[in-house]
């Protein structure tokens, strides 16, 4: 590469993918966080005694229908999030706004359904090993969903607040990517803690 000369030339910052790459790193970090928490959950579950036979749930009954509906709500919100992205790439701000608002409403609805389900289940913190582990792992997964909601709302406002352009679509694309990950993180947590138990 001997043609290189160390002269200083005007340089403009090129960072078209920065947000997407950073979001990828954040997803990797969150997935390892969940891996650590669920790994500990499974290790404790394994160490708790023979299965079946041992009452790992301490008499609790998991409200399966409600939690499945909650998951389906979240899956539906993935569709609306991608609708928002699709619309923003076509500079259709009316559709994009509608889709983002729908996603946020579905996300809030999901949180409400999960809280209702846990109340119905009688999951009381400090009442037993399963309760504490379920509370902590569910809390971490819900935290990821809440961060995803904020991220989506913020990027929606930023990208659609001014003009709907390529830059805005990239930012929204990163937020939608994180939202997809948040749904996946919840699905894995739900399957581990409430289905396989």
């Amino acid at each position: 590469m001997t043609d290189t000369t160390p002269t200083l030339a005007s340089g403009d910052p090129q960072r078209p993918r920065a947000q997407l790459v950073a979001t990828g790193f954040a997803c990797a970090a969150c997935s390892m966080m969940m891996a650590g928490a669920l790994g500990l959950y499974m290790a404790r579950r394994h160490a708790s005694g023979p299965h079946p036979g041992h009452d790992w749930l301490n008499g609790l009954a998991v409200p399966n229908p409600q939690l499945v509906y909650a998951l389906l709500t979240l899956v539906a919100s993935m569709v609306t999030a991608h609708w928002a992205l699709w619309a923003s790439r076509r500079r259709d701000s009316a559709h994009a706004w509608t889709a983002i608002a729908t996603t946020l409403v579905l996300g809030l609805g999901f949180i409400n359904m999960v809280m209702y389900s846990l109340n119905r289940m009688g999951l009381e913190i400090g009442a037993g090993e399963y309760q504490n582990l379920a509370f902590a792992t569910t809390g971490l997964a819900l935290a990821i969903v809440v961060v995803g909601l904020f991220y989506l709302g913020l990027m929606g406002l930023r990208s659609l607040g001014g003009s709907v352009g390529q830059q805005g679509s990239t930012a929204l694309g990163a937020a939608v990517f994180f939202w997809d990950f948040a749904v996946l993180a919840w699905a894995v947590t739900w399957y581990t803690v409430y289905v396989v138990k």
Binding site: M1, G11, P13, M32, I125, A136
Partner: protein
């Protein structure tokens, strides 16, 4: 710290506030980097001092001579946390935050505000962590709310370091000058990417664990034995192989300095990037044994032993390969390289990482194969003895401090605009080298010959009062050797701070021009130090060695 001149900007980027208040709100990577470097050095002093007190306690097999019965366990845990989370990781994160944008021709970090938030969140969390310990709230502490506070502070430290790591990794991935590809980036930038990426996929495991530990400790303590179960699950972040992830940037510093001194490109660039990646990659997975299974203190055997031996072997292979490539570059030069503090310290740090990996491999193989009855008949495996402290001393004190010494001496002109005193630097190298050697030898020999326990998770006092475990006469002497080493290391850190005070603070150091070392990477094309704020003009790069390219082109033209 000398202040840089303020740059004007034509792109609407906010101009940096040059007043002291500007340090609080800065979004300039150079200021954030300096804040990380200086703060981590101050926390290092605290960490070494606590380690000294812990080692003093180990010089008597029958009594606590410094920290006392209640303070010993917390002194031990705090010194480990301080040396990794408050020194080793943030110090080299700081160097990366400062140097990486300059090395890849970027105007700033990808997310400068995130980096600022990272520093201040780290700083506040560090203060809260120290406050929790002062209030008797660390692991094994008697203040329950303080233990919770300690866990929250630990989460704050991890989240802030992750934020900084993501900013660095994203910068290398997306903000390189057009034409500068990943396989042509300077070695330090590449090592920063490797280390940051591996931190991003390993430290969050601790976060997940802390989430559960916090809930359980605060509400009911159902499966934790009081707060005794905490340390056993988080200790992996202070041990090998996880430590290899933290030292990858040091290998990058070594490569940078050796190649620049040899005035050569590496023989096979891809091999260099591969070996650096290998060391980082083989640091991954340490968490599985400790944090998930909670079996950190148990005997390793079977698959566990194979995996550990494999991880150490991989790190050894990577380090040896890199040092081999750098050695070839030195030989190719056919001239005796100019001896300087940075070169000596860089070579010393690289060699110690190699030694650390070899030492780990020997220890893991001995435990796994039950050599000399390790793990049988009540004999503790080497990994349960102060053999482990020896390895930590090699990697944190030896490689970490020498790596920092090398980086600071090498890049001081770029960071502060002045060269540090080289004579004082060489003395500093000798002092740190001797200190690290003794700090390693004491616990290593004690672990090998007297089986002195490293730390007994269920009964930390048994670590210090170990008369029932071993023939203590030798252990006391070996511990005293370790104490001497740590005292010398404290002197070494003091010398480094003194050099900074004299050369930079009192402005006695030689004022540096753009490229005082006749180096080759892109940061040496910029003024020393570069003005604060985002520059109007940036080098357009197509290679990680533009100055060497230019010199060769000039030579060819003549």
């Amino acid at each position: 710290m000398s202040e840089n001149s303020t740059a004007t900007t034509s792109r609407g980027v906010p101009v940096e506030d040059p007043t002291p208040f500007g340090w609080l709100t800065t979004t300039d990577h150079k200021r954030i980097g300096r804040l990380f470097i200086v703060s981590s050095m101050l926390f290092l002093v605290v960490g070494i001092f606590l380690d000294l007190l812990v080692r003093l306690d180990l010089t008597s097999a029958t009594d606590f001579v410094s920290l006392g019965r209640d303070g010993f366990a917390q002194g031990f845990t705090f010194s480990r946390e301080a040396l990794t989370l408050l020194f080793l990781i943030p110090a080299f994160l700081g160097v990366a935050i400062y140097m990486v944008p300059l090395q890849i021709g970027a105007p700033n970090l990808a997310f400068p505000r995130a980096a600022t938030a990272s520093f201040w969140a780290w700083k506040v969390s560090a203060v809260v962590l120290i406050g929790a310990y002062i209030g008797n709230g660390g692991p094994y502490g008697g203040w329950a709310n303080g233990v919770d506070l300690h866990l929250l502070a630990l989460s704050g430290l991890v989240i802030s370091l992750l934020l900084g790591s993501i900013a660095v990794a994203t910068t290398v991935m997306t903000m390189r000058s057009p034409g500068l590809y990943l396989d042509t980036t300077p070695p330090f930038a590449w090592s920063a990417l490797v280390s940051a990426s591996m931190l991003v996929v390993s430290l969050p495991v601790l976060l997940g664990q802390i989430g559960i530990l916090y809930i359980d400790h605060r509400y009911g303590r159902v499966f934790l034995a009081g707060n005794y179960g905490i340390w056993e699950r988080i200790d992996w972040i202070h041990r090998t192989p996880q430590l290899f992830i933290y030292v990858v940037p040091i290998l990058g510093v070594t490569a940078e300095i050796v190649l620049a001194t040899a005035k050569r490109r590496v023989f096979e660039p891809l091999a260099m990037y591969f070996t650096l990646g290998l060391v980082g990659l083989f640091g991954f997975g340490a968490w599985a044994n400790f944090s998930v299974t909670g079996e950190g203190a148990d005997i390793i055997d079977g698959l566990e032993g194979v995996v550990l031996v494999g991880l150490y072997g991989g790190a050894l292979l990577g380090t040896a390969g890199l040092l081999g490539l750098l050695g070839l570059a030195l030989i190719q030069n056919r001239k005796m390289p100019k001896v300087s503090t940075s070169l000596l310290a860089a070579l010393g740090a690289g060699t110690l990482i190699l030694f650390g990996a070899l030492y780990g491999l020997i220890g893991a193989a001995t435990d796994w194969l039950e050599i000399a009855g390790r793990g049988n008949d009540g004999n503790p495996q080497l990994r349960m003895t102060t053999w482990v402290t020896g390895q930590q001393s090699v990697l944190i004190y030896g490689a970490g401090l020498l790596g920092l010494l090398a980086a600071i001496h090498w890049w001081a002109p770029k960071i502060w605009g002045r060269q540090l005193n080289d004579l004082l630097g060489i003395l500093n190298f000798v002092v740190i080298g001797v200190g690290a050697l003794l700090a390693f030898l004491g616990p290593a020999l004690s672990g090998l010959f007297t089986e002195q326990p490293d730390f007994v998770y269920g009964d930390p006092n048994a670590t210090a009062i170990y008369a029932s475990w071993v023939d203590d006469t030798g252990a006391e002497t070996f511990s005293a050797i370790g104490v001497a080493g740590v005292v010398i290391l404290l002197g070494g850190v003091g010398l480094l701070l003194l050099n900074l005070l004299i050369s930079v603070g009192m402005k006695k150091g030689i004022e540096a021009d753009e490229d005082p070392w006749a180096a080759q990477s892109p940061e040496w094309m910029l003024p020393s130090p570069p003005p604060i704020g985002e520059p109007d003009q940036l080098p357009t790069l197509v290679s990680g060695t533009p100055l060497l390219d230019a010199a060769e082109a000039e030579e060819a033209a003549v």
